[in-house]
């Protein structure tokens, strides 16, 4: 049944069916096969509804909404002008700033999807104007969002910590090293990309111009203040910070800049709702599909047959990496962690691996997987938000995925990338 499910899904996807259909078909075959008929399809509906229910998902429409308001009005332009006045004259400066913004945003958001929307929404038009190729931009945004998953806070690390009984504080600190390493790699790649493709640079701004840019950006600088100050000041949860950004954006664009009237407010809200629906029906259908995989114990069957108990440390780490990478191509990352971690726990312990290292590698693989075709959730978020075809969104990803997988391999051979800061902080 396993191969029939995956085969059908890929064929339907390739034929150009709406993406919810492969996921729904995969679940349907599963439900009918598992329960010998259509009798339990109400549980499939339950799972679709359950998939869109988690409270943390609310941050996604809120950031879509805030980013949309900012981009339609003045806020985004003024903020980016400010950044450009400092980095515009560097080769690849804007691309590096984008990766940097994802990293900074990652310090407040635990979700890759929210990062794609909040950072990518305002920055993509500017990068296009600056002369970057769209598929490079889309790939940069989608993959830089992985950094947000590694930089604390991270939903993935919290779930891993709870399921495996590993210190969440240690995991959080261990994520910083690999997160920054990826930022460095992406920055270097962006620099050479800009060099190779002759992306023009801006003339270096004078300090007077920079001062001017700062003044113009004073109001919009309230956004980072709300997000970072609000969350670390203990006022908001990340979801609430997203909603606060919406209200602040409305205040700026409707009251201060007077760029937006009630009519545009209505259109923006409607468009946010539409994007949300298109993404969330896939999240829901994906949850139903995850249920089938989990219920049929498919991972257990596959992993049970490869003899992981015979492997050494490196073998185990590579197997884990591959399992999570492949798993996240099809199934929701959180569910993959919930199912896989208990399966691997005994062998991780028996070969004497540091659970914090394993958790960091898993978090990285989960992030990579969520940006990988065919069903990575960041991909369909990017398609919906940027309204670009599927192929356009995934075309530029290979170099980034190679860099990310290189990071994963480096982590396996040089665990200190993750553990150095942890050991320093916890005196180990």
């Amino acid at each position: 049944m396993t191969w029939m499910i995956f085969g059908t899904m890929i064929v339907l996807l390739m034929l150009g069916f709406p993406m919810m259909i492969p996921l729904i078909a995969g679940s349907l075959i599963g439900f009918v096969g598992l329960f010998g008929g259509f009798g339990q399809l109400d549980t499939m509906v339950q799972q679709i509804l359950g998939g869109i229910r988690p409270a943390s998902l609310i941050a996604v429409p809120m950031f879509i909404f805030a980013a949309d308001i900012m981009t339609r009005g003045q806020s985004a332009t003024r903020l980016i002008d400010l950044v450009m006045s400092f980095v515009g004259h560097f080769k690849g400066g804007l691309a590096i700033a984008t990766a940097g913004a994802c990293t900074m945003f990652g310090a407040v958001s635990g979700s890759t999807q929210a990062t794609v929307v909040a950072v990518g929404g305002p920055l993509r038009p500017r990068m296009l104007k600056a002369g970057y190729n769209d598929s490079f931009i889309l790939a940069l945004i989608v993959n830089s969002s992985d950094i947000a998953f590694l930089i604390p806070p991270s939903i993935g690390m919290i779930i891993y910590g709870v399921v495996s009984g590993t210190s969440i504080s240690e995991l959080f600190i261990a994520g910083i090293g690999p997160g920054l390493l990826i930022l460095v790699m992406f920055s270097i790649y962006s620099y050479f990309y800009a060099l190779r493709n002759n992306v023009p640079t801006l003339p270096k701004s004078t300090w007077a111009e920079r001062r001017q840019a700062v003044l113009r950006a004073l109001w919009p600088l309230g956004f980072p203040a709300i997000i970072i100050g609000g969350i670390y000041g203990g006022i908001f949860s990340p979801t609430e910070a997203a909603a606060a950004c919406v209200l602040y954006a409305l205040f700026l664009e409707m009251v201060i800049f007077r760029e937006m009237g009630l009519k545009q407010l209505y259109s923006t809200a409607k468009s946010t709702g539409l994007i949300t629906a298109v993404v969330f029906i896939l999240v829901g259908a994906g949850a139903a599909f995850s249920y089938v995989i989990s219920f049929a114990q498919i991972p257990q069957h596959i992993l049970g047959s490869i003899g992981i108990d015979e492997m050494g440390q490196y073998g185990v780490l590579f197997t884990i990496s591959i399992a999570f990478f492949v798993g996240c191509m099809f199934v929701d990352p959180i569910v993959v962690i919930l199912i896989f971690v208990p399966i691997f726990a005994p062998v991780v312990q028996s070969v004497g691996l540091d659970p914090v290292l394993v958790g960091t590698i898993i978090t990285l693989q989960v992030a990579i997987g969520s940006a990988t075709p065919p069903f990575g959730c960041d991909i369909f978020t990017a398609i919906a938000v940027f309204k670009r075809p599927y192929v356009e969104v995934v075309k530029g990803t290979p170099p980034f995925i190679i860099m990310l997988l290189t990071t994963a391999v480096l982590l396996i051979f040089f665990p200190q990338i993750a553990l150095f800061l942890r050991d320093l902080a916890f005196n180990k």
């Binding site: 034929l15 150009g16 069916f17 709406p18 993406m19 259909i21 729904i24 259509f38 399809l41 109400d42 549980t43 499939m44 509906v45 679709i48 509804l49 869109i52 229910r53 409270a55 429409p61 809120m62 909404f65 981009t71 993509r124 038009p125 296009l128 104007k129 002369g131 970057y132 190729n133 598929s135 990309y193 190779r196 006022i235 609430e240 909603a243 606060a244 919406v246 209200l247 259109s267 923006t268 809200a269 409607k270 468009s271 709702g273 539409l274 949300t276 629906a277 298109v278 969330f280 896939l282 369909f380 398609i383 940027f386 309204k387 670009r388 599927y390 192929v391 075309k395 530029g396 170099p399």
Partner: protein, 217 residues
């Protein structure tokens, strides 16, 4: 560097223009220009439903922002959390998703991977589009049936939402409704493709990823 990058060093002005105005012109669907695929009175009803979907989407999103912030204000200003806040958000996200999927189906906005599809010759594309619309419609009607089933079993169990103290099933009535209207849209799309010479993504959207230009046709 990928091959593609070398071939495309210059930005495509159309793409830039589209991205810049992303939100303003191209992206905004003008509901007053929406033409239903249904004839006569049914068409009038359908246009009305489209309007309601649009309003529900906008109001759902706005309410979600307000509700989330009201909880913060309650916590800090009045020292009292709004216990229904999370449940209300859950209700709203279900409303948005299911009002949105049929609205997206109307305007051909559902995400699909069209690379291979686009490479096919016209006749095959047309046939394929009919197959896609029929299969999608069937899947939606199937889910309509079983979400009614789920709804009824929820209603019979009498589960209450802990904070709002209203029956759980009240917040999921949108699911069968959304699936049904989506199934209807795809069904109409199949018919439109059968009777018209062009290829239609939805009853109002001609093939091609950007629906904006064609929508007024």
């Amino acid at each position: 560097m990928t091959l593609d990058d070398k071939h495309a060093p210059k930005p495509d002005p159309d793409v830039i223009a589209a991205a810049e105005t992303a939100a303003v012109d191209e992206d905004d669907i003008d509901d007053s220009k929406y033409v239903s695929g249904l004839p006569g009175l049914l068409g009038v009803i359908d246009v009305g439903i489209a309007r309601i979907e649009a309003v529900l989407l906008a109001i759902g999103v706005l309410l979600m922002a307000l509700n989330t912030m009201a909880n913060v204000v309650g916590r800090y200003v009045f020292g009292e959390s709004l216990f229904f806040s999370e449940e209300l958000n859950r209700a709203l996200i279900i409303l948005i998703t299911f009002a949105g999927i049929s609205y997206a189906a109307r305007h051909g906005r559902h995400i699909r991977m069209s690379a291979f599809f686009d490479a096919m010759p016209f006749r095959m594309r047309k046939m394929m589009m009919i197959v896609i619309a029929v299969v999608t419609s069937a899947a939606m009607f199937l889910l309509t049936w079983y979400s009614v089933d789920y709804l009824l079993s929820q209603a019979s169990r009498g589960r209450l939402l802990p904070a709002l103290q209203i029956p759980q099933w009240w917040i999921i009535v949108w699911a069968p409704l959304g699936f049904f209207l989506t199934g209807l849209q795809y069904g109409l799309t199949a018919i439109k493709n059968l009777i018209d010479k062009d290829i239609w993504l939805s009853t109002s959207t001609l093939e091609g990823y950007d629906d904006s230009a064609e929508e007024e046709v």
